[in-house]
Symmetry: C2
DNA sequence: TAGATTGTTAATCGATTAACAATC
DNA sequence: TAGATTGTTAATCGATTAACAATC
């Protein structure tokens, strides 16, 4: 990896490029140009080349990028060339839906890297129920579950007022990356990555353009 | 509104500021400084002041921003000072979860502006079922539903391969803003706003930091 | 070889931060 | 009035775009 300090936006576009390449695999084209990759991912050709240059040289002048090779390289850079285990905190509507959604994609999509390793809640009436074969456990069991299976990623789907505590519990358990769906800003230590995925925030943003 | 051409990032932060102000209402503080608003929204004080300056002057020197007033002004700017009707296309796991989620927030949260106006699918076995009182209709009924109720916003929760067609149907029906949850880049005409909310993309992005 | 497209450098553009006069 | 904080301008920083030599 040439540069570990690639900007946030570059990493985000890398994920986008990978999605395009995954959708291209079945095609009969072996090579793709920065031009076409950019078009299909919503970026300029120059941007594609500059983004990739943060991590190495993956193309051939006059030809383009070998689809399978570039896919493998980007997957490696994003750490999705292996199984990535994650847990969901909060077995409400959204948590259960995301559990089912990721399970289904894992079943149907070759190479889908994300694997649900646990589903946690504090509601006694939910604990013990299963979602697509994964039992809902009490939040107190998180620490052990994370340690046992080496999970480092958590999705937070608890109500707003419980979000910070769920995040704290994740951090204590050794989680390194958190995707927060709760409509609440939460704090994490410097060594933990946090992304926000509050749907309501997107709705507000979009409403501006109405 | 002083400037309709505020950058994307500014509008996004506006939504964040509003979320903080909504959470502040119950407090006994009448005024909030750019410093505190920034801290609680994850922005710098200078950024808060500069962002707000795109739209007008809302503060008092030496004092700060009156919480209720600023909340009202931002709500107005974001067009969420009134009911915003939206539809969901795709009554799968995620679509149904989002339908329930928004319905619940509307019931429990004073001033939550988003109201589900319809839920659409093409699967005959789903059509006619109801989700929290909203009947699942066939996608063919979208056009009429949008025209009748003045809906201008749509959430796309169909499978990737159906995403572009769902978007096209939305555009034909007169939808102006689309939030796309399908793991697929889709195209829209210039006059339609599109945001992407593909969870898998966030997971890929986060995995980079593991 | 000729044509095409990469990787990279320089130029442009835009956003963030710092600083401070205005003023509540 | 004195202290505090806004609104705004100037300085800095970083990302995007344009251009082109290198080379497959």
């Amino acid at each position: 990896m040439r540069d570990a300090n690639a900007p946030e936006v570059v990493v985000r576009r890398l994920a986008l490029y990978l999605r395009v390449l995954n959708a291209t695999s079945a095609d009969d084209k072996n090579y793709i140009s920065s031009q076409e990759l950019g078009e299909r991912a919503g970026a300029s050709a120059a941007q594609v080349r500059k983004d990739l240059a943060f991590f190495g040289e993956f193309g051939k002048q006059g030809v383009g990028y070998e689809v399978g090779f570039l896919r493998g390289e980007i997957a490696r850079i994003l750490n999705v060339d292996r199984v990535v285990r994650f847990v969901i905190l909060g077995a409400g509507e959204l948590g259960v839906a995301l559990a089912r959604y990721t399970q289904r994609r894992r079943e149907t999509e070759h190479g889908y890297p994300f694997l649900l390793a646990g589903l946690f809640d504090v509601d006694p009436s939910k604990i013990g129920q299963t979602v697509d074969g994964t039992a809902i456990e009490h939040l107190d069991a998180l620490q052990d579950a994370v340690k046992e299976s080496g999970v480092r990623m958590a999705l937070i789907t608890v109500p707003a007022q419980a979000a910070q505590e769920a995040v704290n519990a994740s951090v204590r358990a050794g989680i390194r990356a958190i995707l927060n769906f709760a409509p609440k800003s939460v704090s994490v230590p410097e060594n933990v990555r946090l992304h926000n995925a509050d749907v309501t925030l997107d709705l507000h943003h979009l409403a501006y353009f109405l």
